[in-house]
Each structure stands twice: as structure tokens, then as C-alpha cells.
Symmetry: C2
Subunit: 356 residues, 2 copies
């Protein structure tokens, strides 16, 4: 199996650790490894290093090479400009297809956490098997634990088969981010799972689906394919990225495709979309606090304390989030993460761009 690690996100909701020049996926948030390094480590038992590809903004090339020094140069795809996931998946599939037309490809974000890794790898093996059988797309769906309105949902059919004790359902439809009431219906029906952004399909299937459902993107992919290995490769990459529409792979391809399968998974997954999400996924101490770094607390409960080389000392706090971002300290109640956006706007307004 091949892997394409999508490392192009900005991760502003994890500010001030996630920063413009070093977003979330390049930060160590819950272990000694960065999220990118964790993503690699998680799949390494299944994918050889020379078959791992990383795609991210071109400006982050030095960070990727610093964090994955073994990555072959041809496995790094530097996007000249961010155009959402459809162009990224298409270009990466093109690169891999030109190397191995029979490749099965796992597409995965670089900035998620999965705590049940053995189970995750068992699912991937089953997904690989299904993807090998034909023009199938296999998605990993996450069993919802709450009526989350920030994720897309996948509606599953009852029809399914079981491979190695893993259920593989047929997909009825993809649903965009729902309102709260709809999300509650989804969760209670047990026929909906969260769209994790992880897909397993063959390189040939990807190219065929782009040809059928996104012919504009496909033509640009083929133009780039002809340039691979020539002196024009980077110039052509820039040109096709200039021309790509900004669109997600969900909208461009998956909502129109047949033969989509989903493996509903309870794998301790989180997209780490906020400090609260990190707080939830991490193991808490006897006071309900989740601590990274050095902390001393008096009467401190249910807090996320996220430090680096400094001590964070707290008294009389409940359900608070404190993050040491080096040159910035952020303090807020758990549940107010959505206001970080307004805070970043305020910083821009004040001309304090160095903190973004």
C-alpha cells in the first residue's frame, strides 16, 4: 500500500501553538513527535517509507524535510498554492500512478490523532483488500460520540459484508456539516458516521473518477503527468495549480461516485480541531487535568495545561485551557475555542502579525 499524507492545513484553531509558519501538523501536541511524524509512525507497519508521499504548501518544505529526513525527494509534493483537497489528491495520485499503475493508496490527513492504532491498522488492511477488488473507494467513518456540527457525515446502508471481523458498509450518501438538530438525528439513527477524510482506493480508480467527475482537474493532472521527470516539472506544477479550482475531494469526486464503501470505526479518533478536542482525547490525571509539560496546581480541575519549557502554576481553576505558545500565552475557558478566530482578527487589526 502507498500513502499520501495531506499536510496542507493551517490549524488556526490550535493557536498559539499552531502558527502560520509552522501549523498544527508540524507541532508536537501530545507526544514527543509532531502530528506529521505520528501520522507516519502510525502507518509505518503497513507502508514502506519509500511509498509514503507528503503533500503540503511549498513554503513548508524545510519543515517536512527536517521532520522526515528520510523522505525521498520525489515523494515530496510542494503545492505552489493551496487549492483544497481535490487537486492535492489528484496530483499525488498522478505521481504515484506514474510510478506504479497498480498502486493502492491511502489518503490521510497529517493532523489527526488515533489512539487505537492496532485496530486502525486492521481496518486499513481490510480497506486495502476491498480497494484491490475493483473500482472501489473505501472510506474510514468514525462512530460519532456526540452530535458534532463541525464534521461531514457519511450515510451508511444496512447492506454490508464482514471481512476479518470488520464490517464494510455501502455508502448511501455524503452529508455536509449539519445543523444541531440534524446532527442529533444522525447520531441517534446509527446509520451515520463522521467523515474522517481518510480514503483507500487504487491509483487507477482515482484517475478514472477524476476523469469522469472532474474532467477539468483531470486534464491538468495529465498535463502534469507528462512533465514528471522532465526539467519542466516544477514550472508545469505551478501552471496547473494556478489553473486548478479550489474544491474538496468530497465535493468534486466522492459525492458523485458509485462503489463507495465505509468502514465504521471506533478507533479513538480526533481531528484535534480545537484545544477542547485535545483535552478530550488525552488521558486525564486524578484531578481531571490533561497536562503536557510542567504544571503545579492547587485546587485545579478539568483543565488542559499545555506548556513547553515553562512551568504553568494554577490555583482555583476549573475547566480552563492554558496554552504556552512560546512568545504567547493563551488562557480561555474550555468551550470558548471558537473565539480564537476573533482573537486572531484582533491581532491583525492591531498590526501584531508576528503572533499569527
Amino acid at each position: 500500500m502507498y500513502a499520501v499524507i495531506m499536510a496542507g492545513g493551517s490549524g488556526t484553531r490550535l493557536w498559539p501553538r499552531s502558527r502560520q509558519n509552522r501549523p498544527k501538523q508540524f507541532q508536537a501536541l501530545y507526544s514527543d513527535r509532531t502530528l506529521l511524524q505520528e501520522t507516519v509512525r502510525r502507518i509505518e507497519p503497513l507502508v514502506r517509507r519509500e511509498d509514503i508521499y507528503v503533500i503540503a504548501n511549498r513554503s513548508h518544505e524545510p519543515i517536512v524535510k527536517e521532520q522526515l529526513p528520510w523522505l525521498p525527494p520525489e515523494n515530496w509534493i510542494g503545492e505552489p498554492v493551496a487549492k483544497d483537497t481535490a487537486p492535492a489528491v489528484g496530483i499525488a495520485a498522478t505521481v504515484i500512478h506514474s510510478k506504479d499503475p497498480n498502486a493502492i493508496i491511502l489518503v490521510t490527513p497529517a493532523d489527526h490523532i488515533i489512539t487505537k492504532e492496532m485496530l486502525f491498522r486492521r481496518l486499513l488492511k481490510v480497506a486495502e483488500k476491498v480497494a484491490s477488488e475493483g473500482p472501489n473507494v473505501v472510506t474510514i467513518g468514525i462512530r460519532p460520540t456526540c452530535p458534532e456540527t463541525g464534521y461531514g457525515y457519511i450515510q451508511m446502508s444496512d447492506a454490508h459484508r464482514t471481512i476479518d471481523d470488520i464490517d464494510v458498509h455501502e455508502v448511501i450518501s455524503f452529508k455536509e456539516k449539519p445543523d444541531l438538530r440534524t446532527a442529533e438525528e444522525y447520531v441517534s439513527s446509527w446509520h451515520y458516521v463522521w467523515n474522517s477524510g481518510m480514503f483507500i482506493w487504487s491509483a487507477q480508480t482515482i484517475l478514472d473518477l477524476y476523469k469522469a467527475h472532474a474532467p477539468d482537474i483531470y486534464r491538468l493532472m495529465m498535463r502534469f503527468k507528462n512533465a514528471i521527470g522532465t526539467p519542466d516539472e516544477q514550472t508545469v506544477l505551478e501552471e496547473v495549480y494556478e489553473a486548478f479550482p479550489k474544491i474538496s475531494v468530497d465535493y468534486a469526486i466522492l459525492e458523485h461516485a458509485d462503489n463507495i464503501h465505509v468502514i465504521p470505526a471506533a478507533i479513538g479518533w480526533s481531528d484535534l480541531g480545537s484545544w477542547s478536542a485535545l483535552h478530550e482525547i488525552m488521558d486525564a490525571d486524578e484531578n481531571g487535568n490533561t497536562v503536557v509539560g510542567s504544571h503545579v496546581g492547587i485546587d485545579t480541575h478539568n483543565c488542559l495545561i499545555h506548556s513547553r519549557d515553562r512551568l504553568i502554576a494554577t490555583i482555583g481553576l476549573d475547566n480552563m485551557i492554558i496554552v504556552d505558545g512560546g512568545d504567547v500565552i493563551l488562557v480561555l475557558p474550555n468551550g470558548r475555542s471558537q473565539d480564537i478566530k476573533a482573537l486572531l482578527e484582533e491581532l491583525k487589526k492591531q498590526g501584531k502579525e508576528q503572533y499569527l
Copy 2:
């Protein structure tokens, strides 16, 4: 007028800015100057620099000389060991008396803030006048603004005279830190003021009072007086400090003395005894926040934000205190300052002495 600045405090309640190796009085807390430097600046219009004496723990000599580089070496008194205020006041008076037997001396802590400085200096001039008239002790009493149980109180007689529009009352008695009910009675009676720890008296009066009420200390003072200017001066200072009892000037002298006067003062005084006290004395912005350093806030009200070179970012906070102590960040609700002591104990228990 001479001045003795008492800079021997430990200031643990303002941790983590106040630290064992650089306590509160040597820190800049509300301006570019340290509290010691502010104390000097405040009295400089009344006292010549060569008449200012500083007494503090011997280990802090480099800090004092760094912050007051002009201080004549003989005006620095390094205490070999902390023995509370009675020995400090006695030794400083001995040094000054040996230079000028007619000296009038202001004794003042190094770590208080006074916002109404013009009025303060007017009071001092009147106090100097009263102290010059005979064996009088003049104290500066602070008009209470709340039933504070952390201060000593001074009970005033109605009998008073008025000099240059300033009332000077006779003192009936000194009261130790009261319980809350007693403090409430004190405040409502209008005959009680807080003991600020500032006294104005002649060097001769001090020596006479020690001789009468603390003969043990007086004998040691005289022993030291004979050694001043000799090669034995430091050795004798060590010996007398070894022998000194640990006792405050209030207990040892003032509670037994006659001819004590008090000038009730509304001079914007605070002993900066806690972060809350600093919050109260500083000017708040339109959101009720008092800010030192760099801060950006969303929905943040009535907070004390005390930073240095880092940005502190806050969302959805009310009545909180956040202090950047360099290698430590402290976060607590306003009103929980008293728990800092427990936090320092916890640090000791964990062997993290470097943060004390």
C-alpha cells in the same frame, strides 16, 4: 532629613515575579522602575542622595548596587541574617547617629506604592517638623478603605493639631492584626488607621527609645557603634546580628513609647501585598483590566494581566489574575492570592526549588 529604606522583605505573595533571589522590592511591577527605585524617586525631592541609607539582606548587595549605582558604600547596610525590623531600624539609626547626632530619620519600607506623591511629601515635611520638636515619634497612618485583617491598626486620639493644613493626632495605642469583626469596628469608628510601617523620628529619639524599651538590642547597637569605621566593623555586625532577637520595631519599641503621633493619610497607598492589591491600585482600562506588558483580549473583564516580553491572550475571562514570571506562568482567580503559599509549599515538596 535622612531616610532608611528597609529592603529586607521576601514578598512571596507576589510570586512568581517576586523570587527568593530577587524579591518584590527589586522588581518593576507597575512602572519601568523597581519598587526600590520608586521608593527613592518618591522621597528624592526631600532627601539628598548621600543621606539615603538602604538596609537589606547581605546577599542582595549586588542587586541594590545595580539598581542604585550612586549609593555611597557606607550607606549600604547588609544584614547577615534577617531579624525583623527592630534590629534593622536600630542599626541604621546607629550608623546615622554616628554621622549626625541631630539627624531626623524617615524609616520606610522599600516595597510599597503611593500614588499621591505631592501630598505624601507634604505630610513628610510636617512629620519632620514634629519629629524635630522633641522626643516625638511620628507615624504615617493610612485611612482604611476596607476592613483589612492583614494590617496592624493605630488608634488615634481626637486630640490633634494642624500644621500646614495637615492634622497630626496623638496615638492612643497600636493594635495587632484584628479579626474581621474587630476590623469592621475599627473602620466604622474613624479613629483607626492602618500602620504603614513609615516612621519619622530623630536619631537621638530612636536611640533613647531602644535604651529604655529594648536594652538588649541597644547594648548590641552600641557595641556596633564602637566598631564603625574600624577593620572589625563587618565582624562585629555579624556578631551583633547573631545575638539580636527576631522582633519587630512595633512590638519592641512603639507599643511601649510615649509621644507617638500619627498623620492620617489618604495618599493612594498600598503595600502591594498581593496581586489583587496591585490590581486595585493600578488604573484599569475600559474593560476593567489592569495590564502591564502586552495583552490582547476577547470578552475579558476585570483581570490583572502582568506580562513582560510575551503576549498574553485571553478569551472569556472575568476577575482573573495572570502573571508571567519568566520561567513560570501563574493563573488564578482574583481573591485566591492567599493560596500562593500552598503552591510554593507544593513546589518545595516536588523538589522544584528553582521556581521559588
